[in-house]
Symmetry: C2
Subunit: 549 residues, 2 copies
């Protein structure tokens, strides 16, 4: 049978031959994750994704979510899937087993989540927020917040939403107007309106915990005055019992190009009764807290892009192997009385499929590498900062570059299917429509490129980019020792040197208004060449695996 969503052979090659994820078991928190366990985990995720979840994807697209009497209703099949994910402890498998998680390395959890994203991106978008929220509450929450919310979120009893955007504050968070007025009991009364809130309301769970970015009354203007609040949809008393409804309501959902199964809500806070929340982290430090969640969300979006690309590629591959059309000289079909060739034989179709394969495998490795860096940053204290540097520099690549390439792959899949690809008879047009949002949300790819050029390139004295270059040079050295690869390694070395020069030129520019504008105008191009080189690095690493870095 054809591979679905992700080619398991290639995934296992990346996990074990390229990245040796099973070596993480040397570190105590991951001691249980030997190769056999990881294989079992990923195969179980695949089984669940392909058998149980995938059939709900088209249901989400065609029936979508409805907004009725102030409530958002998802298709009933979605609730069953949510329950499967909850029971299987798949929502936040990275969490501490003491909190209801599986203590799973992020790299392994990513591989599992990729399958879920490919099986139903709309649902996984909601589910995927639980991990980031749990992480933020674990890191910044008070003892009471942890006690009341963590287990419920990790178990999936309650879901999560992330409320940042307002109609005049999309890419520009400094303009957020939602207000938080401190009460005498330490809580805050929140009022404002949010838009584009994924999962702001739905009927999957009894409660939804909202993380709301707002401005405490009297706080400084701009992003320095933002604070993050934990706002339950239904109040929770100190013993954990659900009480009355909090004063935030969904006022409508967006009609969208795709992702019809994911409710994109407009929210009114405090206009129908008091909306009460508690501070998460310090006052006026909301953006930093939010960003630790946003980085997770960005990688989740990269994973969505990858899952869509990978699914689309496998569908196109299967179709191209079975669809017969046209003749080729010297092959079957050269004469009218002979059968046509499978379209995969046509060089132009092969070109598309090989491009798709290269991008798909490359971005798969990029994302797994970032997750592995996160794992290593956690378990190797003396190298924590080094790995964190790599994560930070690669986040814009893992979101911006990855989703741009992923969308190209989805687009090519439609082209391989020809006229059939444009019809709803085949899944690729839905995959494209779903994937189209990935280059936009959680910071448009333009914003990602600015993050790379204006912020990450110069952060910590430019150390981040240098760390990345050094890693690439190590792989080149390894490849250089392999006779079959030394030519490629030499060619690649030139690219890496060029990239290094370009980065140096950008980061050492004078700090004037003109140079700032200049940097902004080339940022998208720089993100793309950085991404292409990183992808090339991943492919070279694959070529030297298992003897590589």
């Amino acid at each position: 049978m054809a591979q679905m969503i992700i080619d398991m052979t290639d995934l296992e090659f990346a996990l074990f031959d390229q990245f040796r994820i099973d070596r993480l078991q040397e570190f105590e928190p991951f001691a249980d994750y030997n190769r056999k366990t990881i294989e079992m985990v990923v195969r179980e995720a695949r089984r669940l994704a392909v058998r149980e979840i995938l059939p709900t994807s088209k249901i989400g697209d065609t029936r979508g979510c409805r907004f009725e009497n102030g409530n958002v209703l998802l298709p009933p099949e979605f609730k069953l899937v949510w329950e499967l994910l909850s029971k299987g402890e798949w929502l936040v498998p990275e969490a501490d087993p003491a909190r209801g998680g599986q203590g799973m390395p992020r790299s392994v959890a990513l591989a599992a989540r990729d399958y879920f994203n490919g099986a139903n991106m709309a649902l996984t978008m909601i589910a995927g927020l639980s991990h980031g929220a749990a992480h933020v509450i674990e890191t910044f929450g008070t003892a009471l917040q942890k006690k009341l919310y963590l287990k419920k979120i990790i178990s999936g009893e309650w879901a999560v939403s992330m409320q940042i955007t307002e109609s005049e504050s999309g890419s520009d968070l400094g303009r957020i107007n939602t207000l938080a007025e401190p009460g005498i009991d330490g809580t805050y009364r929140i009022s404002g309106a949010k838009v584009f809130i994924t999962g702001g309301d739905h009927n999957l769970t009894d409660n939804i915990i909202h993380l709301v970015l707002a401005r405490v009354k009297g706080a400084p203007e701009g992003s320095r005055g933002l604070s993050l609040f934990l706002v339950p949809g239904i109040h929770v008393d100190e013993s954990g019992l659900l009480g009355r409804k909090n004063g935030l309501t969904c006022t409508g959902i967006e009609e969208k190009m795709g992702l019809h199964g994911s409710p994109t809500c407009s929210m009114a806070l405090g206009s129908s009764g008091n909306c009460i929340g508690t501070l998460l982290g310090d006052e006026n430090k909301g953006l930093a807290v939010m960003f630790s969640m946003m980085n997770d969300a960005r990688l989740l979006v990269g994973s969505q892009g990858h899952a869509c690309a990978s699914s689309a590629y496998l569908y196109a591959l299967e179709y191209a192997k079975t669809r017969k059309q046209g003749a080729l000289p010297g092959k079957a079909g050269a004469r009218p009385d002979m059968e046509s060739v499978a379209i995969i034989e046509h060089p132009d179709v092969k070109r598309m499929l090989l491009t798709m394969k290269c991008y798909t495998q490359g971005i798969r490795s990029i994302l797994l590498y970032i997750a592995r860096c996160q794992d290593k940053a956690r378990v190797i204290p003396e190298k924590r900062q080094e790995y964190q540097d790599l994560v930070d520099i690669l986040i814009p690549v893992g979101k911006g570059y990855v989703t741009d390439r992923a969308l190209e792959v989805c687009d090519m899949a439609i082209q391989v299917f020809g006229g059939y690809g444009y019809t709803s008879e085949y899944p690729v047009e839905q995959i494209y429509r779903d994937a189209r949002i990935t280059t936009i949300y959680e910071g448009t790819n333009g914003i990602q490129s600015l993050d790379l050029v204006l912020r990450k390139l110069t952060l910590r004295n430019g150390r981040l980019f240098n760390a990345l270059i050094r890693r690439m040079e190590q792989t080149i050295e390894t490849a250089d020792c392999e006779p079959a690869l030394s030519g490629i390694a030499m060619g690649f070395e030139i690219l890496v040197a060029d990239l290094k020069d370009t980065a140096l030129r950008l980061s050492s520019m004078d700090d004037t208004i003109e140079t700032d504008l200049e940097k902004r105008s080339v940022s998208a191009a720089f993100l793309h060449i950085t991404g292409d080189v990183v992808l090339g690095w991943m492919m070279l690493w694959r070529a030297v695996a298992p003897s590589g870095s």
Copy 2:
């Protein structure tokens, strides 16, 4: 007020300053088309498109067409638009006034049709077929066929469909299985099944005239055995009166990614009563006849791509001028207490808009140039072949390259709108979904690239491509005399020389199986570099206009 669909200033610049379309009035058939008349024609088309047709586009997308009790029903608003187009003689304005047309140059008709395509591509797709069909009947039809069908088609009393594709014959026409059995009265009884038939059935007109590609019983296999048939949906007697229904029926319509207002029909021929047609052109010469119609259809698709790109660009431009978001150093918004800048100020947004503008203007000129060559081929007998050569070599560019770039423009428009671009609140996501088919139908862009590399490059001893290169060299010479442009002209000269070399290398390759496969594998790349150079030529020509070639 913002420009809609197409920027009139730029269109008039291309028509009059770049291409001097008004000079066609020197030739008798176009004697009425002085500048004033052309301006009036185009402005009237714009008025009709923007005021009357554009509002129906979203209706087509949301309500779409329905298939009920064996009939295809379009939204009632579509029927009103069809009547407006009929009454205004907009369906086949190129036709001879004696037949009910306006004797309009194709270049002028194209400019008008671009507006209609941008206003409602789904409807214009059906309407656009009338022109090609009228042209084919005029050229190949018998006196009776002309008498019975031409005026009715040109007036819009009857519509047209083009029935080529079968489920196993998409890109591969040689496999067509629909059978035509000659009767004793000179008619043919046709049986088979067609798919992906645009406008195969609808309720816009009382009758639909189908041009059906089929194989006469006993004809050779492959494309050499195909004949074209004229098959009325409802029989027409020799006095022109409608009789009983012919034996072809729509069996269903496709659910598609976009173009919901255009019924894509599956057709059964001869399974419910006899399906009777008459031969159009010679037996077994159907493909050649069809291709003269197909070239028109391909340019129509290019025009659709252009219209979508142009509309999307203008929407994005308008949005970027009014949407305020984010700060820039040294500008408004640099401090939190200052207002944000319009997003058009952001260099990365400006980069997208400038790219969109360049592609849109360039493909506009490419298409107008092809139409002008068609006009000149018609009215300058001694240069007929020279202009036909240019048309033939540029068809794959005008369809394949143009729609690839157009789709990129539509995609960037979504990105400029950010999250709002993904919602149905703004028109750009529909424009993208509608435009997505243009790289597929009437020969996928892969097929276009093969047409260029395997056929057009070597046709008539490679004369076609040389004619194109010579034209470019003339523009370079003109630009070289302008001090402000000579640097650009020199740079462009190198590109043209490189393109010429590449084309020569491709066309002079040995005729072996290996080289054939090699050519096929680089054909898409060659189409793109050819298109980029042609687009560059158009931009250079624009720069030297009105003193250019």
